[in-house]
């Protein structure tokens, strides 16, 4: 009466051909699938794209010349003679300067983070994969930078090298290298001890090949997510540097610098003076929320 299960049956009879019901979907396909179903992230991403688009095409869409001053038209409120967002302390159009200012702010937000993720990521992967003394040397060096608060460090470096946009970006890059390095190192260390790296070594693959095919793909996610969350920090710090006179030099329009020069007029036209701050706030919070959405969609745990 009893049914005996014969385990010596030909192969692929039991679980082999049982497949998940979903169709084959690659990693990035599934990330995009999850993103498509996340309206909040999509909305904020649209705002970020709009800001980027406005900054890139500022010369085409700006209603005025950003450097055109006017003695009579200083510190005028919203809507004064076609100046939709009013004018600043030298009579320049605020909307135009905000659009142009976005170029500098976004550049200073993205470039240092990009360079820092390349350098820091590379150092972290090398240190994490090599382990031992190489790793200790690299990570202790990074710890030296960690000893300072990031704002203080950026101010100190920018101050020591003098103002200007290039020096400001350099200072920010140096500030972001240690945390980038640490994220890459942690991800690499976690991967390194797994059996698939050992299996790759067992095929006789060289270390560079293993890093290229097996490590980078696994480290890229955390590094990318962390980098995207640093963009808003970078924008804030860059504005801070400009505010302190260590970043962009006048008369180049920059949100931080505009905030700094307009602050004396806060009692004259408070709404106009707050605009650069609003721009910084909206940009950085949107970047952050998009970064959060990406992290969720990519399934990266930090």
């Amino acid at each position: 009466m009893t049914d005996t299960i014969v385990l010596d049956e030909p192969l692929d009879t039991f679980e082999e051909q049982a497949l998940p019901a979903t169709r084959v979907r690659g990693y990035w396909q599934s990330v995009f699938y999850r993103l498509r179903h996340d309206p909040v992230t999509l909305a904020f991403a649209a705002i970020v794209l709009l800001i980027v688009w406005a900054a890139i095409f500022a010369p085409l869409i700006a209603p005025f010349d950003p450097y055109k001053e006017s003695i009579v038209g200083r510190l005028k409120p919203f809507g004064w003679r076609g100046h939709m967002l009013g004018t600043d302390e030298l009579g320049r159009d605020m909307l135009t300067r905000l659009l142009y200012g976005g170029r500098v702010s976004l550049l200073m937000g993205v470039v240092p983070v990009l360079i820092a993720s390349l350098i820091g990521g590379m150092l972290g992967v090398v240190g994490g994969f090599a382990g031992g003394r190489t790793n200790t040397a690299i990570m202790r060096m990074m710890d030296v930078f960690y000893a300072f608060p990031s704002v203080l460090l950026a101010v100190a470096i920018a101050g020591a090298m003098g103002g200007g946009m290039a020096n400001g970006m350099l200072a920010l890059t140096l500030v972001f290298i240690p945390p980038m390095c640490r994220v890459a190192e942690t991800a690499t260390t976690q991967i390194r001890s797994l059996d698939f790296i050992e299996a790759a070594r067992a095929t006789g693959a060289r270390t560079t090949t293993i890093i290229r095919y097996h490590v980078l793909g696994n480290v890229l996610g955390p590094v990318f997510i962390y980098a995207s969350s640093l963009i808003s920090v970078s924008i804030l710090l860059a504005s801070g540097l400009s505010f302190l006179g260590l970043g962009v030099r006048p008369p180049i329009p920059d949100w931080g610098l505009m905030l700094s020069t307009l602050r004396q007029s806060i009692y004259v036209v408070p709404l106009v003076c707050a605009l650069p701050g609003v721009a910084i706030f909206i940009t950085s919070i949107c970047c952050n929320l998009v970064s959060d959405g990406l992290r969720a969609a990519m399934g990266v745990r930090m």
Binding site: D8, A18, F196, A199, A202, T203, G204, A205, Y213, G217
Partner: protein
């Protein structure tokens, strides 16, 4: 003995020459700060004949996995020698480690962590041939072939990621990956321990079939005696980094020489409820491999331990009449002076 098998073109010494000889392998891992070390593998010697399956059994932490990694030089031995088909591994006139890895591959226990989570499984399988000089197209072709040989439809499973496969399917991919480079010998480090029983049986049968098909030699590591009995020709029993007994499968299972092997066999759950054992045949944990007991390492748990067991290291020696089945135990050494000699 296995004259029916065709000879591999890479074969050098003929069938009589062992595939692998390990001599006095040792690996101690230093423990930071204490100046002491974990004696994971301590003077292990054995041979693996061509076309045979050597089972390696022992409790958790006895050095089985370290031994497996030593055989592939994934962990460099402190001391000892490996001879692969007549060539000393790493010696100037012998075979280089890289060349060894073209002929020996490994299947790991954890089927999940042994596959790259960000790589479709066909790429994981193709990686070995690609690294060893095949063009990308050729490597992909080999991967497809290998996947179908382990019972997975390459067009269905190839593009999938490891998290989309079951444990048994992943382990099949791991086997395909190991075989993709065309090895002559495969080291299987607990390949079925993480699988449930029905899948385990399928994978074991698959391994047997592949062995015939590709004319392979296996080193099969497991803590499951039933599995080892099913698949092995010979068995090596390890205890705390040392070999305590080695011999043909039937001899070991019917006439174990070493008290430890005896206890291991007795600890198997009986299929017959009437023969259920209430007392564990062996109690306690194995001693700490950082400070192993002197003399015979098993003397702290051995029911027959005497003064000589604590004083002297037993030798794994061939005693008269049983060349192929030997144990490192004073009871079986006529010169040890153990009182139970001859009636164990």
């Amino acid at each position: 003995m296995r004259t029916g098998l065709p000879l591999d073109p890479r074969d050098r010494g003929g069938l009589q020459q062992p595939m692998l000889i390990a001599r006095d392998l040792r690996k101690h891992f230093p423990v930071k700060g204490s100046g002491k070390s974990v004696q994971a593998v301590d003077g292990v010697s054995f041979t693996v004949g061509k076309g045979e399956t050597l089972g390696i059994v022992g409790e958790s932490g006895c050095g089985k996995s370290t031994l497996a990694r030593l055989l592939l030089h994934l962990v460099t031995p402190d001391r000892g020698e490996l001879v692969f088909d007549g060539d000393a591994v790493g010696a100037p006139e012998g075979i280089a480690v890289g060349a060894l890895r073209r002929q020996v591959q490994m299947v790991f226990q954890d089927s999940y962590s042994s596959l790259n989570p960000r790589m479709p499984v066909r790429d994981s399988v193709a990686f070995g041939p690609f690294v060893q000089g095949k063009k990308k197209d050729e490597a992909r072709h080999i991967a497809r072939d290998m996947l179908s040989r382990v019972g997975l439809d390459p067009s269905l499973f190839g593009p999938r990621y490891p998290h989309e496969l079951s444990g048994g399917q992943k382990q099949r991919v791991n086997i395909a990956r190991a075989l993709a480079t065309g090895p002559r010998m495969v080291i299987l480090d607990e390949p079925v321990s993480a699988l449930d029983k029905s899948v385990e049986a399928q994978v074991l049968n698959l391994l047997r079939a592949l062995k015939r098909q590709f004319n392979l030699t296996y080193v099969f590591i497991s803590h499951d005696l039933n599995v080892v009995q099913y698949i092995s020709d010979r068995v090596l029993v390890m205890y705390l980094g040392r070999v305590v007994e080695i011999g043909p499968i039937d001899a070991i299972f019917e006439r174990p020489l070493h008290p430890y092997t005896h206890a291991l066999l007795a600890s198997r759950p009986s299929m017959d409820p009437a023969k259920r054992i209430d007392e564990p045949p062996i109690t306690g944990d194995p001693p700490n491999p950082i400070d192993p007991p002197s003399g015979c390492r098993f003397h702290t748990r051995c029911p027959f331990a005497e003064a000589v067991c604590e004083a002297a290291d037993p030798v794994l020696g061939p005693w008269e009449g049983m060349q192929s089945h030997v144990a490192a135990c004073h009871i079986h050494d006529p010169h040890s002076g153990h009182s139970r000699f001859g009636n164990a």
